[in-house]
């Protein structure tokens, strides 16, 4: 396959960026999207041009490190992570535009790499159960109905990639937030801190500069782990309850 890519190049956080075109003449449909970029980078390095910086680590769709805007869609045309996208999803001769996640709180560090430290700070604000090592009761002392355990799992599957924020026209991180609030809120272990958790996490979310939810649903459409949109309803419900209680 012959492919043209237009890639966002930016040398540093404060530097201006621009789209630069590159030509690839020998792309195999079996290559992953990131392997296509690896090949391009090898070509660039060999010819003396600095390679394109992009994040990736596990390359099996679970670590959440990779994430690119591909032709305007977070993670590209399939509902998967960028590393699990393959070139057979594109056609011979196609031009592909590749950009970093665009959101105020995700500062571009270089080329396609952004800073997602805001997500860690949101978790630090309350996305945990306060239980010190060694103080846990026997695991079977609390039963968890399967429906709750399953729902907790479905929402705990979030990989923190940031596609939801990138896809949202308002750069909200409500799907990310809602997923964690729902995961811990479904379990008995998460109950004691349930009210304070949602308030603290939401305050941090707003403090980081993420926008508010306007029920567009682009986040859930873009989520490679299929976190359902209704976690945001759960978030709102938990928030109302907490506020009534005076949190």
């Amino acid at each position: 396959m012959k492919i043209t890519v237009k890639v966002w190049r930016q040398t540093g956080p404060e530097a201006p960026g621009k789209l630069v075109s590159y030509q690839l003449d020998d792309v195999s449909p079996d290559m992953s999207f990131l392997e296509m970029l690896d090949v391009l980078n090898e070509n660039l390095a060999t010819s003396g041009e600095e390679p394109i910086a992009f994040d990736s680590d596990c390359r099996e769709g679970i670590c959440g490190m990779c994430g690119l805007m591909i032709n305007g869609s977070a993670h590209g045309p399939l509902r998967t992570t960028t590393c699990q996208l393959h070139m057979r999803s594109f056609s011979d001769g196609e031009t592909i535009t590749i950009e970093p996640w665009r959101a105020e709180p995700f500062k571009v560090l270089r080329d396609l790499i952004v800073d997602r430290g805001a997500f860690d700070r949101i978790i630090s604000a309350g996305g945990f159960v306060s239980v010190n090592t060694g103080s846990a009761p026997e695991a079977h002392s609390t039963l968890v109905p399967k429906v709750n355990a399953d729902r907790a799992f479905d929402t705990a599957a979030c990989i923190g990639c940031g596609a939801c924020v990138a896809a949202c026209p308002n750069a909200a991180a409500m799907l990310f937030l809602g997923a964690k609030v729902t995961h811990l809120g479904e379990l008995p272990q998460g109950q004691p801190e349930r009210d304070s958790r949602v308030v603290k996490m939401l305050n941090q979310h707003d403090h980081e500069g993420f926008g508010g939810c306007t029920n567009v649903g682009a986040c859930a459409d873009a989520c490679p782990k299929e976190i359902p949109l209704d976690v945001i309803s759960q978030l709102n419900q938990d928030l109302r309850r907490a506020m009534v209680k005076g949190y």
Binding site: A45, A53, R59, I62, F128, T133, H140, L143, A149
Partner: protein, 652 residues
């Protein structure tokens, strides 16, 4: 130490002993050690500092726990967030001796299975402790909100895994590693908020600081600004994972590397059993030269899939559906009728290699065998198969573009886990006082081969329960003299890091870092992979030395230090892999027996099975760095089996 060079490659030094291991009844040893280990007064803990490198299951759990106890912790990871460490990719599950199924499991049975699975090359005391602590891990993780699979009654579900006869594996669908890691990550972030842990993401450790024979800090590079920073502490913990990426292609993440442990090795930490590598039989084969990593398909596929190759080499490019039954060789079922397709990982891997070596491999490059589901689909129906393996089939289809419901899957072995790592004593302390090593980065618990669902168990056992209880003994034995950034050892360590960076950036070579890494990987896979022999290993050492020499004069790294520079990051990692690779080959050469994942062709039975040689090799090999232009020194730690009788494995 004898001065004689053995095979022209290494020397043998004095034997080494684990001086911390308690004696007495095995079930009392861990309690005894915890009691004997000195305590640190809670008020004094905040004056003591610990550096933790790596934030996977072992590092994340250790940093969180030490923070909870009140120590000042600095944690480092090369990823953009501690939640991304490669523990996250573990699929299958985690063993624990809860015996919730009432099927005869016990701490002793898990201990026994792990020692046997490691082919009798791990310490009894360590493995027993691992089995003992396993139950606490489940309690801890459940309390954190880890969403393990449950039954309708609300109890935790278990499954049987990796060929054992009891159901002791706890799981969260196919994403157990992810869920356990997020549990540890959340505990860690809680401590970040408490102020006990300072987190440094996108920071890579490039050197260990040793002052007066003790580990006192690290030199790191801020991967965003390029700044080379010094961090000092009372003790250092390395939890930096395995080194499977020395093979270039493996199931490891792109960034997994040996640099932290290798730099420590060069500063005096012994490297234990570097040649013990686990090669997993069910991975998706290489599609072409562009391949950047290999993807594991869960081993559970072998429960229902039948592995075969064409009997005739000329059929290997045919559509497999057109090859009649009588022209197929179900070689595992033929050679191992009792276990069939469920033989252990190393046997299944080697058998696939032999078929491909014989020219019967299928797919691109002839490096693959079929894993065929047509028989089970015919027997139980497509829907049942889909319920069991649907997500794996989807993943396979996404990567290869082929539909395994219609066409047999192709699989091939890939490097998955390294049992070797820095040598540690029972306290997880390396041969450098004050340097502790946890998780896959150490060599301690899996011997020559790791059982399925035991990696997660070891990482969390080390991180939550073992290390926090043993490091206090070291910290309580202080205070150690204050060190500041002007100490000559600190200045020297920092200077060596900056001059290495300059050397890469000033080398006006012609070849990229990746091209060297790929070539090293080919050498390792060919000669130090599934099957090893003396001649091949000698060739490999020779070729690695030549390659390493060329690397330093001809590698090309563009850009500057003061920026995100991924070529520069890789250049340092590959330089260390080029040294580690040689040591792995020397270790494989010196161990003239087959055991676990290490198969020496010279040591096999008449019918071609692995032959362990306990009279000569029942020891752990701890290698000491010999110096830049000198040879490594072997120290043997004899393994004593007081409780478990050594037996040869047989699967025929």
């Amino acid at each position: 130490m004898t001065d004689d060079l053995i095979d022209g490659l290494y020397r043998e030094g004095a034997p080494i002993r684990d001086t911390k291991a308690p004696s007495g009844p095995i079930e009392q040893r861990w309690s005894k050690r915890q009691f004997e280990a000195k305590l640190v007064n809670p008020a004094n803990r905040r004056k003591l500092s610990v550096i933790v490198v790596g934030t996977g299951l072992a590092g994340g759990a250790a940093a969180a726990t030490l923070g909870e106890q009140g120590y000042q912790v600095s944690a480092f990871c090369y990823q953009d967030s501690p939640r991304r460490a490669h523990s996250i990719a573990a699929q299958g599950g985690m063993n624990a001796a809860k015996n919730y199924k009432g099927d005869g499991d016990s701490v002793y049975r898990l201990f026994y299975d792990t020692v046997k699975g490691g082919d009798y090359r791990a310490r009894e005391s360590n493995v027993y402790r691992l089995a003992e602590v396993s139950s606490n891990i489940i309690d801890q993780c459940v309390a954190q909100g880890v969403p393990f699979a449950r039954e309708y009654g609300g109890l935790l579900d278990n499954r049987s895994f990796g060929g054992v006869q009891v159901s002791r594996t706890f799981y969260a669908r196919g994403q157990t590693g992810q869920q356990l890691l997020i549990g540890a990550y959340q505990a860690l972030q809680r401590q970040v908020a408490e102020g006990t842990v300072t987190m440094y993401s996108r920071h890579e450790m490039l050197e260990l600081i040793v002052v007066d024979g003790r580990a006192r800090g690290i030199i790191v590079r801020d991967m965003v600004s390029g700044e080379v920073e010094t961090h000092l502490a009372d003790a250092v913990v390395l939890a930096t994972g395995g080194y499977g990426n020395v093979f270039f292609l493996s199931t490891n993440a792109m960034g997994c590397n040996v640099t932290a442990t290798w730099r420590a090795h060069r500063k005096g930490a012994y490297f234990g059993n570097p040649c013990f590598t686990q090669i997993h039989p069910t991975c998706i084969p290489v599609a072409g030269e562009h391949q950047s990593k290999l993807t594991l398909m869960s081993e559970s596929l072998r429960n229902d899939g039948r592995i075969w190759v064409p009997k005739k080499a000329e059929d290997r490019n045919k559509d497999p559906r057109q090859i009649p039954e009588e022209d197929r060789d179900y070689y595992l079922e033929r050679i191992y009728p009792a276990f069939g397709n469920l033989v252990p990982r190393d046997i299944a891997s080697r058998a696939a290699k032999y078929q491909c070596d014989a020219g019967k491999g299928v797919g691109p490059g002839g490096l693959g065998v079929y894993l065929d589901f047509s028989e089970v689909i015919g027997r139980v129906g497509r829907d049942t198969v889909s319920a069991r393996y649907g997500n794996l089939f989807d993943m396979y289809k996404q990567i290869t573009g082929e539909d395994p419901y219609e066409v047999p899957m192709r699989i091939y072995p890939a490097v998955h886990y390294t049992m070797g790592g820095l040598w540690v004593d029972y306290d997880l302390q390396s041969s450098i006082p004050g340097l502790f090593v946890a998780g896959e980065a150490n060599f301690s618990d899996h011997g020559a081969n790791r059982l399925g669902a035991s990696a997660l168990m070891q990482g969390l056992s080390d991180g939550y329960f073992v290390l926090p209880n043993t490091i206090r003994d070291y910290l309580a034995s202080g205070p150690y003299p204050a060190v500041d950034e002007s100490a000559p050892e600190v200045v020297e360590a920092k200077k060596s890091v900056t001059s290495r960076i300059e050397q890469f950036l000033n080398s006006k070579g012609t070849r990229t870092v990746d091209s060297y890494h790929r070539e090293l990987g080919h050498i390792m896979w060919e000669y130090c992979g599934m099957s090893r022999n003396r001649e091949g290993l000698l060739t490999a050492v020779d070729r690695i030395r030549t390659l390493r020499k060329e690397y330093w004069s001809n590698v090309k790294v563009l850009g500057e230090n003061e920026q995100i520079n991924q070529s520069l990051e890789r250049a340092g990692r590959v330089a260390d892999f080029l040294e580690l690779g040689e040591l792995m080959c020397i270790d494989a050469l010196h161990r003239r027996e087959s055991c676990g994942g290490h198969f020496r062709e010279e040591s096999q039975t008449e019918d071609g099975e692995a032959e362990r040689r306990d009279e000569e090799f029942a020891y752990a090999a701890a290698w000491e760095w010999g110096g830049e232009d000198s040879s490594p020194v072997l120290h043997k730690e004899d393994l004593v089996y007081e409780f478990i009788e050594l037996k040869q494995r047989s699967y025929k």
